[in-house]
């Protein structure tokens, strides 16, 4: 005959421990979900900004030193919270692509706009750990007539 003796204290402790661990994992997953969602929002704003400054820089053309530039280097936008702004810093890098075949074709440049960001509010309260790469870049090949 089978004896129904119930659970021992150690078994209950182990079961509760397992459950607590599982709950912690679930909480961490939800937190990660929010972090990624926030990052996705910033990435969207950064991509649009990168496109705008790349357009602007390409329209201005290369300077006398042969480099593409942009007049400003940062912009603050409210991408998550109204009171705290996210600072988007950007830079333009350009590289001359040598055309050895025919110089009459003009000059070719590879122009890259890189935008990086970090929220002021987050920087005061948290570290960057877990946020991954907080920058984006887009490139364009630009033809400049000689």
């Amino acid at each position: 005959m089978k004896i129904n003796r119930g659970l021992t204290l150690s078994e209950i402790v182990v079961a509760l421990g397992l459950m607590a661990g599982l709950l912690l994992v679930i909480i961490a997953l939800f937190t990660k979900l929010l972090v990624n969602s926030t990052k996705n929002t910033d990435l969207t704003a950064a991509n649009l900004l990168a496109r705008s400054i790349l357009d602007q820089s390409v329209r201005r053309g290369p300077s006398n030193s042969g480099q593409f530039t942009t007049p400003d280097d940062s912009l603050e936008l409210s991408t998550n919270n109204r009171d705290s702004k996210t600072k988007f810093s950007y830079e333009i890098q350009s590289q001359r692509i040598t055309n050895t075949h025919d110089s009459s074709l003009g000059r070719l440049y590879q122009v890259t706009a890189t935008v990086s960001w970090w929220a002021d509010e987050v920087s005061q309260e948290h570290s960057r750990q877990g946020y991954g790469r907080l920058s984006t870049s887009i490139s364009r090949t630009v033809y400049v007539k000689e």
């Binding site: 119930g6 926030t38 969207t44 704003a45 649009l48 357009d55």
Partner: protein, 220 residues
Amino acid sequence: MELVVVMSLLGLIIGGAFLIFRMGSRGFQQAIVKTGAVGDIHRFSRVAHRDIGLSHFNSAEVEKRQITEAGETLERDGVGICGLSDWSDASNFGGTLGLPNWNRWTLFYATDEAKGRLIRLETQRAKPSGSLNYYPITPMPGIADLMSNDPIQLPQALRVTTLCHNVRSFSAELDTYKRIVKMTLVLHNKTGRRMTSQQTVEDYLETRVEIYPVNSYPEL
């Protein structure tokens, strides 16, 4: 005694499961609202780059408008520019130069409701009086009359699209020196409560777009 212990443990487990469920649903809700706002911004950016980017700067006009919401002054501007009914139709390009027959006006504006909507409205652009073609190009007239909260009812409306919901402010300006159209769009969503507290989360998403209309030459 055993019953009390078991009931307490059960209560703890059920309470914990409920808290986790509540946190999860709040987190999902916030993520969904954010994703929706990002989708709206993408839609606005894509359509604005297509319509304004292919247009002529001389036809651009901005109508400034403000509303007061909860003691704050918010911009709900409109920006109009000429366009084409169909870029793939060869009959929309005329003359010896093959210039576009600008036969449409495209207007982007935010409604003046508390939770605004960003509308794209397309209307007919007639040939200027006394002209045999669609030139000269002049700034879009009568924008204020078209900035309606119910644009489908407008007799001039050929196509109406809602690009974004929950618009807080939409401002536009023309940079006549750089010949670009600048627009700032701010979306505001209430995403419910924080995952770990009762504090209400309000999500703001601001974006700035600067578009150069590439067909601005020749300046006819």
